[in-house]
């Protein structure tokens, strides 16, 4: 694997010398999502650079190369009763660890279980100078130097080609139950707020098609006891996997898929298809919302015009900082040009 890594470094360094741009590719599961369409002179393929390099269940730490499949990681972890807490989509086995971090894509438990951004402990990456760098490490806490590992989350590969990731993993919950209630979106939002304020083992809250779903997970007695108090109908449902993998019929069809990052106070949309997830913090919409409340961020998650900007504008100060940051890691702008913003 050392040779394969060297070859990757050489490809980036070579492209840098030749003044060429690179499109970084993992499992191609998210090429048409999250970011803008990216056009570059050459591809840098990470899918072949895979494998778990270290896994210490007692340390709750796993290290794997960027091309490792999420589905393979989940299988390995499950053997030891552990899991990736951020529950990322596997996209039918195609999603890779590197792409998951670069996209910061997370499952329905995010408000309670955190994100891949939260779980990452360290990364190895190749910056736009073709240098192989290591930040963070395999320990739970590390504040030496800037947190360049977490900075990769959501950067869509524009700051570096991620080659290896060190992650915090967690035990699988012992027991889980989903409760369902028929109600309006407004009533669901109210319930979500009320339930999330209680110290109960809640780790999923979604409203879709006239039903509110609450997921409880943890010690069996605690889950059953809470389910007894909260009532509702206990259901067996593939909903959480369908939300995670975007395979629910809500996500079908050609219309654009918008994602609004917001909080519980944002009212439900009056018209148009919507799915309220993450206890009210994430709204999936199939049409542009009427208003975007201050502090909320709207992104064109999938479909639509992916040549245009797909995420919100930055204020001039932040735009300047972000551009300078980009230049500090990729001065020639050769990594995934335009994937995050047209000007980056």
């Amino acid at each position: 694997m050392a040779d394969a890594l060297q070859a990757l470094v050489e490809q980036v360094a070579g492209a840098r010398r030749a003044g060429q741009t690179l499109r970084i590719r993992g499992g191609d599961s998210k090429v048409h999502m999250i970011g803008r369409d990216c056009h570059a002179d050459r591809d840098l393929k990470l899918a072949g650079y895979h494998g778990v390099s270290d896994y210490q269940p007692r340390e709750l730490v796993l290290s794997a190369r960027a091309g490792t499949r999420i589905s393979d990681l989940q299988l390995l972890l499950a053997e030891r009763g552990q899991t990736l807490p951020f529950d990322p989509p596997a996209f039918a086995g195609s999603a890779t660890l590197g792409g998951t971090l670069a996209c910061n894509i997370n499952g329905p438990g995010r408000p309670w279980l955190g994100s891949v951004r939260d779980a990452v402990l360290g990364v190895q990456l190749i910056n736009g100078e073709g240098e192989l760098l290591e930040f963070g490490g395999k320990v739970m806490k590390n504040v030496a130097g800037y947190d360049i590992s977490r900075l990769q989350a959501g950067a869509l590969g524009t700051l570096g080609a991620i080659t290896e990731v060190h992650l915090k993993v967690l035990p699988l919950p012992e027991y889980s139950v989903t409760l369902a209630y028929d109600c309006s979106a407004e009533a669901a939002l109210q319930q979500m707020a009320e339930k999330a304020r209680q110290p109960k083992p809640l780790n999923g809250a979604c409203w879709l098609d006239g039903r509110l779903y609450l997921r409880l997970a943890g010690a069996q007695q605690a889950v059953q006891h809470t389910a007894g108090i909260w009532g509702g109908e206990q259901v067996e449902t593939p909903l959480w996997e369908q939300l995670r993998d975007l395979t629910h019929p809500f996500f079908d069809g050609e219309q654009p898929l918008w994602r609004l990052a917001t909080n519980i106070h944002t009212p439900a949309e009056k018209a148009g298809a919507q799915c309220i997830d993450w206890g009210g913090s994430q709204r999936w919409l199939r049409s542009l919302p009427g208003t975007i409340p201050a502090g909320s961020h709207l992104a064109l998650f999938a479909g639509g015009d992916r040549q245009s900007e797909v995420r919100g504008e930055l204020d001039p100060v932040q735009q300047r900082l972000q551009l300078r940051l980009k230049q500090s890691m990729d001065p020639a702008g050769m990594l995934n040009p335009g994937r995050l913003y047209s000007w980056m």
Binding site: V61, K138, K141, Y146, D147, L151, P171, R197
Partner: protein, 479 residues
């Protein structure tokens, strides 16, 4: 460094701040000469204590115009000389920005000014059955702005995360005095995650003027198990065994014999004085969950050979058992004229090895060392005891500390888990990072602060800018 026109600076700042917000005379500046690590002291040109964000902005603009270094300061409890003033600069104290602006129980957030103390947030949230997760032992005093700048942790971080995991948004002033906001009301924001980058950046990239933190529901029950062990190794194994049993305790702390003695002397907590190591394991959640986990952890500790065990029966007993741990630093302080707190983090499997090595180094340097640490996270806090009245002993304590940090790196860990690099650990940065990584840090620093006037000489060694380099005290010049 260009010499700074102090008269000009004073005149310009007087036009911005009321008189009582500027400290000009040497004697009144003394309380600001160091943070919680008094080995390093320096007086600034001026201390500025603005009362509004607009004033902070004007101070920054003024300093930027005059190319004057600025060092932000929260409560000054830092343990790495991060807030130590710059002799040619302004110390920008944020303690007067101490208002809790809003508690939103439905969104479970608190919006606060940077000078608000960590504990005050939980205090204000308590009325809503909520609290703020990260709980550094200094929480009565330390500010949320300082917590953000250091990515502070606490005894509950294994389960509830560090500062970086508990932030939703922040307001930032750049070195030029330009305002921007990072994060948002939701969990994703456009562009790069500057909030993650700013957290733990030690005041080198910007000045945080407002923070919105996430709040958590106060658990129904929390109980703590205290277990004594005949050896550090057995206690270390017990930590791994709890994790292997699929339990994530709310807190899992270890103390060695010297720390047990010091803490128990101080807090009268009823710690087992004959034990070589003590574990405090807190479990929280619903009644049912806690009952279930207490039984499980008790059986793990028994299997691992615990020599004594006690479970808190009520809240008062839980508080008492924690009191010893939370006052361990001052307790050790009573055993010795001075102590020096290290902060390396290591893989948990290396705990007994590293503690044995520390004991050996303690012999070698002829200085006592007590160990208190966040065992669940592998974050060590060796407390080296010395007498600052004896310069030779200071030098020995520093060498001992440096050896511990290098040992932490050698076993796969890092030089600092939560206290930061500041001025203190600058010399150890090259043992954790290669030249290319250090260079990358420097590029990021200059992206935010091209003239290197924000907290210069701290956090990251500046390799190519020798002007900066010369600003460091002699013992931190390394080549």
């Amino acid at each position: 460094m260009n010499s700074i026109d102090r008269g000009q600076l004073l005149a310009d700042l007087r036009a911005i701040l009321p008189d009582h917000c500027l400290i000009d005379d040497r004697e009144s500046q003394r309380p600001f000469e160091c943070d919680g690590l008094p080995l390093y002291r320096e007086l600034p040109l001026l201390v500025a204590l603005p009362e509004t964000v607009d004033e902070v902005q004007s101070v920054l603009r003024c300093c930027h115009r005059l190319a004057v270094p600025v060092v932000a300061r929260g409560s000054g409890t830092g343990l790495c000389a991060g807030a130590m003033p710059h002799p040619e600069g302004v110390l920008l104290g944020l303690s007067k920005l101490n208002r809790i602006l809003d508690i939103d129980p439905d969104a479970r957030t608190a919006r606060v000014q940077p000078g608000v103390s960590n504990l005050a947030i939980s205090g204000a949230a308590a009325a809503h059955g909520l609290y703020y997760g990260p709980d550094p032992s200094s929480q009565i005093a330390c500010s949320i702005g300082g917590n953000v700048a250091e990515n502070a942790g606490g005894v509950h971080c294994l389960k509830y995360g560090l500062t970086v995991h508990n932030l939703l948004s922040m307001e930032l002033l750049t070195v030029e005095g330009d305002r921007t906001s990072l994060g948002g009301t939701g969990l994703d924001s456009p562009g790069y995650d500057l909030m993650a980058l700013l957290t733990g950046s030690e005041g080198l990239l910007g000045v945080v003027t407002e923070v919105t933190v996430k709040l958590l529901p106060t658990p129904e029950v929390a109980r703590v198990i205290m277990a004594g062990f005949d050896s550090v190794r057995a206690a270390g194994d017990a930590v791994g065994a709890v994790i292997a049993a699929g339990i994530i305790p709310a807190g899992l702390e270890m103390m060695d014999a010297l720390a047990i003695e010091a803490a128990d002397e101080f807090a009268n907590a009823g710690y087992p004085r004959d034990a070589q190591a003590l574990l405090l394991c807190e479990l929280d959640g619903t009644e049912q969950e806690v009952e279930h986990h207490i039984a499980a952890v008790q059986s793990v500790f028994t299997q691992c050979g615990a020599s004594s065990m006690r479970v808190s029966a009520d809240e008062a007993e839980r508080q008492l058992l924690w009191k010893g741990r939370k006052s361990a630093f001052p307790a050790v302080g009573r055993m010795s004229p001075d102590y020096y707190c290290m902060d390396g983090t290591i893989p948990r499997s290396q705990v007994s090895h590293v503690l044995e090595e520390i004991a050996r180094l303690s012999q070698h340097y002829q200085l006592r060392c007590a160990n208190v640490f966040h065992a669940g996270d592998g974050n060590l806090h060796p407390l080296i005891m010395f007498d600052a009245g004896k310069p030779e002993e200071i030098a020995r304590a520093e060498r001992f500390g440096a050896d511990i940090l290098e040992l932490s790196v050698a076993v796969g860990g890092c030089i600092t888990g939560e206290h930061g690099v500041g001025l203190e650990k600058l010399a150890q940065m090259p043992s954790q990072f290669g030249e290319a990584e250090l260079h990358q840090f420097e590029e990021i620093k200059t992206a935010f602060d091209p003239a290197l006037t924000l907290n210069p000489g701290k956090g990251i060694p500046i390799l190519k800018r020798c002007q900066e380099y010369r600003a460091l005290p002699a013992r931190h010049r390394h080549g």
